[in-house]
Homo-oligomer: 213 residues x 2
DNA sequence: GTCCGGCCCGGACGGCGGGTAGGGGTCTTC
DNA sequence: GAAGACCCCTACCCGCCGTCCGGGCCGGAC
């Protein structure tokens, strides 16, 4: 049996959600709250498996308490009317594993509760769409390209270039790797030639794009 | 009526998918293919709304043709047995808007087809979960922090620091912005002081983290 | 063995990068 | 309207960066 707490400032909405969820035989609503602080208290006291958390509420809103609720143990599904980018970002960073709009069909709501209870995630289709595009944009496209450009470097060279990308000077790198500063310069110079870069800054950019730190 | 093409190397799977989808009154399967090249041909000839594309197939596999199929117009849903990270990455980068596992319940499959046909996206719960965590990890956490650190800079200083982050030297920056090299140095120096950075490399890293180009 | 090639190391020189000081412009503040 | 603060620009000095050159080391080819 999946134990759920429902949080929304409107009693009518809470009642509706309760009806929908209780209709599923494997789900039971063990508590309700009307604002963020109530949600946190219930999460600690009742130890539910899932918390349905409304975004906009008077007092402490849902996005604000979301990190604390997550820390208390239960999986969190955010519930809102509008899928604003900022809402989604904050919710996901807070550790929410669900983000649904209030026009979600009842059946899907129960499915979402089961999904997150099982350790997986469920998002509204529009949210998923934008998450994908943001992933495809800043995704591993540049990363792989950068790694491929860094391929011709020797192990030692790469090691030094990584130090460069940390913003360290040649003298400092020499100390860290216990070698002469002249040697560091030579390695950097070789790397610059191999990568057809003019600056050590460009080396740093490459390493950064390649996600090496 | 949503027009769908089903692509899988096993005829039995194709038949099963067709049965499932045709059971929905608003969906019709207009074509089938057994490999990637067939999928591409059908996509061009039949102009379907959605293509269900298996990942592993003899000959041209699904991930390889996915970009071309997407370019041909239809929405692409990838279908696979295992949700390997590499599969998901390549599929999303290729422009797929769906990624489902073959153990998806029939009802969800029809839902997914409708969802992507409407311009949204649908992923298997396990895929969604990892997409979220990768988003939360490398998400706007550092980005916002970096922007906050860059806040004290004046407009001109930021402009110059961005040039620095592109790997340009002071002389080149001076040419681009039509000012003296000495001026560029002064601005860089101010920026270094304000941001408590020692190197121009560290400036570049900050700008890069802040996603400013 | 000997030659060859790649990698790691080091030294000496020219040029770029960064620090300091100061002048001119505009907008607030009293 | 004068003082002050802020931003933008410029000029000079020094240290760091990058290049060129060369030497020691290890592996494979013949």
């Amino acid at each position: 049996m999946i134990r759920v707490v429902v949080v929304d400032d409107e009693q009518l909405v809470r009642a509706g959600l309760r009806l929908i969820l209780e209709a599923a035989e494997d789900i039971t609503v063990v508590g309700e709250a009307a604002d963020g602080s109530g949600a946190l208290e219930q999460a600690h006291r009742l130890r539910p498996d899932v918390v349905l958390l409304d975004v906009r509420m008077p007092g402490v809103d849902g996005l604000t308490v979301a990190p604390d609720v997550v820390a208390a143990g239960p999986k969190v599904i955010m519930l809102t009317t509008f899928d604003l980018d900022e809402y989604v970002h904050r919710a996901l960073r807070a550790g929410a594993v669900g983000f649904l709009l209030k026009d979600t069909p009842p059946r899907e709501l129960a499915t979402a509760v089961r999904t997150v209870a099982a350790g997986n995630a469920m998002l509204a289709p529009t949210v998923t769409r934008r998450l994908i595009s943001s992933f495809a944009d800043r995704g591993p496209a540049r990363r792989d390209a950068a790694r491929q450009r860094l391929a011709p470097l020797t192990a030692r060279e790469l090691e030094i270039v990584r130090e460069v990308a940390r913003g360290h000077g040649n003298a400092e790198i020499a100390r860290r790797l216990t070698m002469s500063e002249a040697t560091v310069k030579a390695h950097v110079s070789r790397a610059l030639a191999k990568l057809q870069a003019g600056n050590r800054v460009q080396l740093a950019i490459l390493v950064h794009d390649a996600d090496l730190l």
